[in-house]
Amino acid sequence: MKRFIDRLFPEISPTKLLSEHAEFCFKSGKLIPEILNSYFEGKDVLKYSEEIDKYESQADGIKTKLREIYTKLKWSYFDRIDALEIIHNQDTIIDAVDDFVKVLTMNKVEDCPEEIILKIKDLGNLVYGSIKLMKMSVDELKLVVESDFSPEEILKEDNITFDVEFDESSTDKLGIEIGRLIFKQKNNLNPVDLIFLNNIVILLMKISDKAENVVERIRMIIR
């Protein structure tokens, strides 16, 4: 039985839960370059989907815990909606990585020009970089809270936000560039493969976009 005084506090801090959840996003994101390498080497990528499924279910557990905290405890300085919005966006990153792997298992692109392969791999690295920065941003949020919103820590959080925004913009630029390269191959490649590759690029760009959403939300709530 919980005692009177214990009921004042959450069992675990919401920012810690956000950070733990972001760790699963990071783990999923870390797989992206590896998945792309395996795919273009003609290896089976379905095993990655199983791994990501595991992360997804663990992340769901954390999401439930966070919801419970905000349902049971009455007063908090982060709006319940903000915290849930952040975790929802983080969740969509894991989902999007999972979708990306599943889409890859559906089709095998043959005779894809090396230039496009390299660019897609670069894009994968950039997306992974965005997720890594997003994780840093969530961890920094813990420090911002610990420091009682010290201007120094807020500045660090701002800098991470700028880095993520820069990364996202680079991802977009590279994505468009790859799209152009893909459609330039309309006379050489199978049309299905063209659309397929383009879809992969769009999915990767979306993942980066979700990471940026998380960071932007964090920036908004610490302001």
């Binding site: 009177f4 009682d148 919103f149």
Partner: protein
Amino acid sequence: MILIILASIVGFGMAFSIGANDVANSMSTAVGAKAITPKQAVLIASILEFSGAVLFGTHVTKTIAKGIVNLELINNSNYILIGAFSALIASIIWVLLATYWGMPVSTTHSIVGGMVGFGLAAGGFNVINWIVLLKIVLTWVISPLIGGALAFVIFKFISWSILHRKHPAKAAKLVAPILLGLTFYIIGTLFVIKTLKENMGLGNLIGIITAFIVFVLSFIFLHKMSSDKNEYSIVEKVFKNAQIVTSCYVSFSHGANDVANAVGPLALIYIILTTQNFSSEITIPTYILALGGLGISLGVATLGHKVMKTVGEDITELNNSRGFSIDFAAATTVLLASTFGMPISTTHTVVGAVSGVGFARGIEVVNVGILKNIIISWFVTVPFAAIVSAILFLILT
């Protein structure tokens, strides 16, 4: 003689139950923030609860024994003896029932209710010292608010002077000794003025000297700490050390206030039986306070460990800087109330202090809904203890 022995056993039992149960609430933030282990908390509480009870316990004990009921108007020593005994028994019954039901029990409210019940049954409305009772009730409302306000101010001060500095670790090593010095200034000054009954000038002088010594010693100690880690980790480490001191402060203050809940009626019984006089100013014998202090210490030492361990495991998300603010605010509020002879609930003051740090954005999520339990406690405990005490009094007389 039998009555003294019986009252001593019941009073000791009450003190034991305070030690076994209530002390864990007052030490919960220090154990939860991992400043001290449950074992260390038991050791600290065993010594400091006793010291607080003996050195500062007399003020509140006087209020419980003679302040609530106007004994002169009852003018029957047998009635007063039975009444004091009834109040003690009623209080014990309520504490046991409330513990069984898992309710937030306050021994302070129980004993005050018990004394009011006996007074009403013995002499009607006229014998209750309504002004004193009103002051007590007011302090019940005010103490969580003062605890909260003080915790808010202390945390904001820590935030401004340490957390928002360019080098928080360096700032913490200077500010923490200042706060520790302030702690000892308060204890030293109040002890000289209120317990030794010396003048304010001497009180301040002793307080300042004590504060200075503590400042220098803690400054030297904390300065030796390494600064090679993350700045905020060092800040928390500094406050982890400082919180050992404030956990002693909480324990000391708790002993000073709560010993009266156990020995207030016992002191009254003892004084009447030994002096046959209840009309003049009473002096609480130190050995009665020591008996209460011993009961609390024994309760902590035997059963307190398990409760403290549970509390420590449940409160996991509390930083030391926040824990320090809560402990400092709660202990100062309780000690001040003690020196003014006001029986207040340490647990409720801690709840107020936690909310204060929460409102200062020091704790991410605080269950302020728990505050309603405090109000329920006022409206349930006092009438229940009063009714049981009155019924017991009527049966025994």
